[in-house]
C-alpha cells in the first residue's frame, strides 16, 4: 500500500473516465498494486486490516482521484465483501478473496425498478429446486451491475408453508451464467461508475449461497454503504474546494485576484468548515465501527449531512468558476454532477432521518393518508370582504 494513498494515475485519467463512461483497465491495475482493495478486511480473509484512520484516508484519496472508480472498487471490496463476511460464514471466504485481489468484482443488488428504498415493492424471489435455488426478478440502478461477477442480491424467499424462517434472504449470485442479463443506465454523474440493471431468469444459486435474513438486520451491513457514500461526498467537496482556491488565487477580476474578494472568501470559508465537520464525523464513525460498534446512527447522520453539504460546496465551486465551471470536461462541472449522485445513492436521505428520529425516542414512523386538512376549514378558499363566496 502506498503510504500516501494517492492515486496519481487514476486522477490523471479521471476526466477521460467520466467522458467515456468506463473505468480504464489501468485503474484496476493501480488499485491492485496499491493494496486499496485489501484494507478493509482482516488477514484471514485476504485483507491487510488497516486501522480506521488509514481506511478513511485511503477512501478519501481514491475518491478524490476519481469518484467513479472509487464507487465501483469500494462497493465491491468494502460493501459487498462486508455483507458476505457479516452474513455469511467460512464457506463464503472463497467469494471474498477474489474481491480483495481485484480478480473479481461484486455488486449489491437491492433496488428494483418499481421504487427506491421501500422493500415492500421488491419482487425478486429465490426458489428451491432439487439442486440448489433459482432466482427470478429484476434489480435496477445498481453500481457495478453491468460488469460485476457476483451480486449480493436481496430477494424474497419462496417458502414452504412450514418454513418459519425469515421472509428475505441474501443470495450470492454468480453473474456469469445464462440466466443473467445486464443493462447499462446512463447517468448524470459518476459516469465512470458502471450502473444499471440485472435481470434474473431462473438463474442458479448454490444452496450454501442463500442466507435467510430478516430485512431489519440488513441495515447493519448497509451502514458500510453509508460510510462509503459519505466519504465520496467529502472527497468530491474537497476536490471542488481545492479547485476553487486555485481558481480564486489565479483569476483576476476587476484588477485583483478573486481571492481578495470577501464574498469569495466567505464561500471558501464556509466550504472549508462544512467539509471539516463532515470529515471529523467520518473519522469518528469509522473508528467506532472498525472497533466493532455499530455506529449506525452516527454514520446515518454523516450520510445525511455529508451528501447535502457536498452538493452545496460543488455548487459554490461552479459559481466561483463562473462560465468556465459549466464547460464540459472542466473538473468542477464533473464534481457538481457527481455530488448529486451521492445524495440519492446508497439509501434515501429522508429514510435515514426517519431512522435517526426513531432512535431519538420518537418511536417508529407512523404514516397516515394525507387527509388531515379535510376536517378543517383549510381546504376552502375564504369569502371575500363582503361575503361573496368565490370558491
Amino acid at each position: 500500500m502506498n503510504t500516501h494513498h494517492t492515486f496519481p494515475g487514476i486522477a490523471a485519467r479521471a476526466a477521460r473516465t467520466d467522458a467515456t463512461g468506463s473505468i480504464p483497465p489501468e485503474n484496476w491495475q493501480d488499485l491492485k498494486d496499491s493494496g486499496y482493495l485489501r484494507l478493509f478486511h482482516p488477514p484471514h480473509l485476504g485483507g491487510t486490516g488497516a486501522d480506521a484512520a488509514t481506511q478513511v484516508q485511503a477512501m478519501e484519496a481514491l475518491a478524490r482521484a476519481c469518484s467513479g472508480t472509487y464507487w465501483s472498487a469500494t462497493v465491491s471490496a468494502l460493501l459487498c465483501a462486508k455483507l458476505i463476511s457479516t452474513y455469511g460464514d467460512e464457506r463464503h471466504h472463497r467469494l471474498i478473496r477474489p474481491l480483495l485481489t481485484g480478480d473479481r468484482l461484486a455488486a449489491f443488488a437491492i433496488v428494483e425498478p418499481a421504487a427506491g428504498s421501500d422493500p415492500a415493492t421488491y419482487r425478486t424471489t429465490v426458489r428451491p429446486t432439487g439442486n440448489g435455488y433459482t432466482v427470478n426478478g429484476e434489480k435496477s440502478r445498481i453500481t457495478n451491475a453491468p460488469n460485476a461477477d457476483l451480486a449480493v442480491t436481496l430477494a424474497r424467499r419462496d417458502k414452504p408453508a412450514d418454513d418459519t424462517g425469515p421472509d428475505w434472504c441474501l443470495a450470492f449470485v454468480d453473474l456469469n451464467q445464462p440466466g443473467v442479463r445486464r443493462y447499462d443506465i446512463p447517468h448524470m454523474g459518476l459516469r465512470g461508475m458502471p450502473w444499471g440493471g440485472i435481470v434474473y431468469t431462473d438463474a442458479h444459486i448454490d444452496e450454501s449461497d442463500v442466507i435467510p435474513l430478516p430485512f431489519t438486520e440488513l441495515a447493519e451491513g448497509m451502514t458500510w454503504g453509508w460510510l462509503l457514500v459519505s466519504i465520496a461526498a467529502v472527497a468530491t467537496a474537497e476536490s471542488a474546494l481545492t479547485a476553487s482556491v486555485r481558481h480564486a488565487r489565479r483569476r483576476i477580476s476587476f484588477g485583483r485576484p478573486l481571492a481578495h474578494m470577501e464574498g469569495v472568501q466567505a464561500q471558501l470559508a464556509d466550504s472549508r468548515t462544512h467539509i471539516d465537520a463532515a470529515r471529523l464525523l467520518a473519522h469518528r464513525g469509522a473508528a467506532e465501527r472498525v472497533a466493532g460498534a455499530s455506529a449506525r446512527d452516527l454514520i446515518g447522520m454523516l450520510k445525511i449531512y455529508a451528501t447535502e453539504m457536498s452538493v452545496q460546496v460543488t455548487a459554490r465551486a461552479v459559481q466561483i468558476h463562473g462560465a468556465t465551471g459549466v464547460t464540459q470536461g472542466h473538473e468542477v462541472e464533473r464534481h457538481y454532477r457527481d455530488a448529486q449522485m451521492n445524495v440519492i445513492g446508497a439509501f434515501a436521505t429522508n429514510r435515514l432521518r426517519e431512522q435517526i428520529a426513531e432512535h431519538l425516542g420518537l418511536g417508529p414512523a407512523v404514516y397516515r393518508p394525507f387527509d388531515w386538512l379535510t376536517p378543517t376549514g383549510l381546504t376552502h378558499d375564504p369569502v371575500s370582504l363582503d361575503g361573496l363566496t368565490t370558491g
Binding site: L378, P382, L385
Partner: protein
C-alpha cells in the same frame, strides 16, 4: 433610498386611492411623532398606551380602526391592498411589531368576519363602533388556523333558551384581549362541527385574564375563560356549525396576509438601521459599507423585502375587485414573509453588531418578535400542507 421600487401604490384610478394615500401619510406622520419615540420604553415596560390608540384610530386622523369597515358604516372603506399598505406604513413608522399586531387583529381579523359574514343587525351594531375605535375586537391567535390545533372551547345547546348556546373552555394568546369589548370565538360541538360566535366582554361567567408574553409585549395579551357562558342566538356569526367553510378559512387567510403586512415595514426599518450601521461602523479599519459581505447582505435584504411585498400584495389584491381570495396564495405569502423577516433580522443584526449602546434596539426586538411571528398562523406545519394540498389534492388519492 431603501427599497428602490416600492410595490405599486393603490391604483390611481380607484375612487378612494387619494383617500387611502392620505390615510397612509397621516399614519406615517402620527407613528413617527407619537408611537416611535415611546416604542422601546413601552416594550421594556410591557405597556399599552390608550392615548396612542385613540390617536391612531381617530377617524379624522389615520383612522386605523376603520380601514376595512365600509364607509356606509363609518369606516374608511379601503381595499385589502390599501389596508396592507397602511399596516406596512404603521410597522415602519412605529418600529413596533406588537403595536402592528394589536391594530391588525382589531382592524382585519376581528372586523372582516363581521363585515363578510355578519347579519345586518350584527354589522350595524358592531362595525360603526369598531370603526371609530370605541369598541375593540379581539381573538385568540390559536383560533386562526381552524382545527390544526385541538379546539379548546365547546358549545352545547342551552337547555332553557332555544337557539342559545352554552360555551365552555379557555383560549390563550388573545391579542388585544385586555382592551377588547368583544371576542370572536370558535367553539366545537360534540359532533366536531364548529360554530363562530361574537361574544361581548360583559357576558356573565366570561373572564379575561391578562397574561405576560415574552414576545410582542407592546400588544396586550390575555387568556379568555368561558365558564358555561350562556350566549343568545344573535351571537352566532354565520351559519350554525358552518365555521369550517365560513369563518375558519377567512380567519386563516386574514391572519396570513394582514398580520404579515406590518413586517414589511419592520423589514424596511431594519434595512434603514443596517444601512446606517454599514456607513458608520468600521471593521479591519474600513467602513463596513466597503466590505463585499456587507454589500451582499444589504442587496439580499432589499431583495427579500421586494419579494415578500410582491407576494403579500398579490394575495391581498385577490380580496379586492373581482379577485378570488386564495388560501394558497395567502399561505405562500405568509411563508415567504416569515422567512424573509427572520433572514432580514439576522443579517441586520450582523451589520449592527452586538449590543448597540444607542437607538431603540429594533433589531433585538424584531429578532425576538420574528420568532413569535413565525410560530403563529400555524407555522410551517400548517402552511406547508395547505400549499401542498393545492398541488396534490388534500384527501385520499
Amino acid at each position: 433610498m431603501v427599497f428602490p421600487h416600492h410595490p405599486a401604490r393603490p391604483d390611481g384610478a380607484s375612487p378612494s386611492a387619494k383617500a387611502a394615500q392620505e390615510l397612509a401619510d397621516r399614519t406615517q406622520e402620527l407613528t413617527h411623532r407619537l408611537a416611535r419615540p415611546t416604542t422601546a420604553d413601552r416594550d421594556r415596560r410591557r405597556q399599552w398606551d390608550d392615548t396612542l390608540l385613540t390617536a391612531l384610530c381617530d377617524p379624522t386622523g389615520p383612522h386605523l380602526a376603520g380601514l376595512l369597515v365600509p364607509q356606509s358604516l363609518g369606516g374608511a372603506g379601503l381595499t385589502a391592498t390599501q389596508t396592507c399598505h397602511i399596516l406596512d406604513t404603521l410597522g415602519e413608522g412605529s418600529r413596533d411589531p406588537g403595536l402592528g399586531l394589536a391594530l391588525t387583529v382589531h382592524t382585519a381579523l376581528a372586523t372582516v368576519p363581521l363585515r363578510a359574514l355578519g347579519t345586518t343587525a350584527q354589522r350595524e351594531r358592531y362595525l360603526p363602533r369598531m370603526a371609530s375605535g370605541e369598541w375593540l375586537g379581539a381573538l385568540s391567535l390559536r383560533q386562526t388556523q381552524s382545527t390544526a390545533s385541538p379546539p379548546t372551547i365547546t358549545a352545547r345547546p342551552a337547555p332553557e333558551r332555544p337557539g342559545g348556546w352554552i360555551l365552555h373552555g379557555r383560549a390563550d394568546l388573545v391579542a388585544l384581549g385586555p382592551q377588547a369589548h368583544h371576542f370572536l370565538v370558535i367553539a366545537e360541538h360534540d359532533d366536531t362541527t364548529r360554530t363562530a360566535f361574537v361574544i361581548d366582554r360583559d357576558t356573565p361567567r366570561l373572564h379575561v385574564h391578562s397574561t405576560d408574553q415574552a414576545a410582542m409585549p407592546t400588544c396586550p395579551w390575555a387568556t379568555l375563560q368561558l365558564d358555561d357562558c350562556l350566549v343568545l342566538p344573535d351571537a352566532v356569526l354565520g351559519t350554525v356549525r358552518g365555521a369550517a367553510t365560513e369563518t375558519e378559512p377567512l380567519l386563516a387567510t386574514l391572519d396570513w396576509i394582514f398580520t404579515s403586512a406590518p413586517w414589511l415595514g419592520i423589514m424596511r426599518a431594519l434595512t434603514h438601521d443596517a444601512l446606517a450601521a454599514a456607513g458608520t461602523r468600521t471593521l479591519f479599519g474600513t467602513p463596513l459599507a466597503h466590505g463585499q459581505s456587507t454589500r451582499f447582505a444589504l442587496a439580499d435584504i432589499a431583495t427579500r423585502g421586494e419579494l415578500a411585498a410582491g407576494l403579500l400584495h398579490h394575495a391581498a389584491a385577490q380580496f379586492d375587485a373581482d379577485g378570488r381570495p386564495s388560501r394558497r396564495d395567502a399561505a405562500a405569502a405568509r411563508l415567504f414573509t416569515v422567512t424573509a423577516a427572520r433572514a432580514v433580522t439576522q443579517d441586520a443584526a450582523r451589520l449592527i453588531g452586538p449590543a448597540a449602546a444607542d437607538g431603540d434596539h429594533l433589531v433585538e426586538r424584531a429578532h425576538r418578535d420574528a420568532l413569535f411571528f413565525a410560530s403563529t398562523g400555524g407555522g410551517t406545519d400548517v402552511l406547508h400542507p395547505v400549499i401542498a394540498a393545492s398541488l396534490l389534492g388534500s384527501g385520499r388519492p
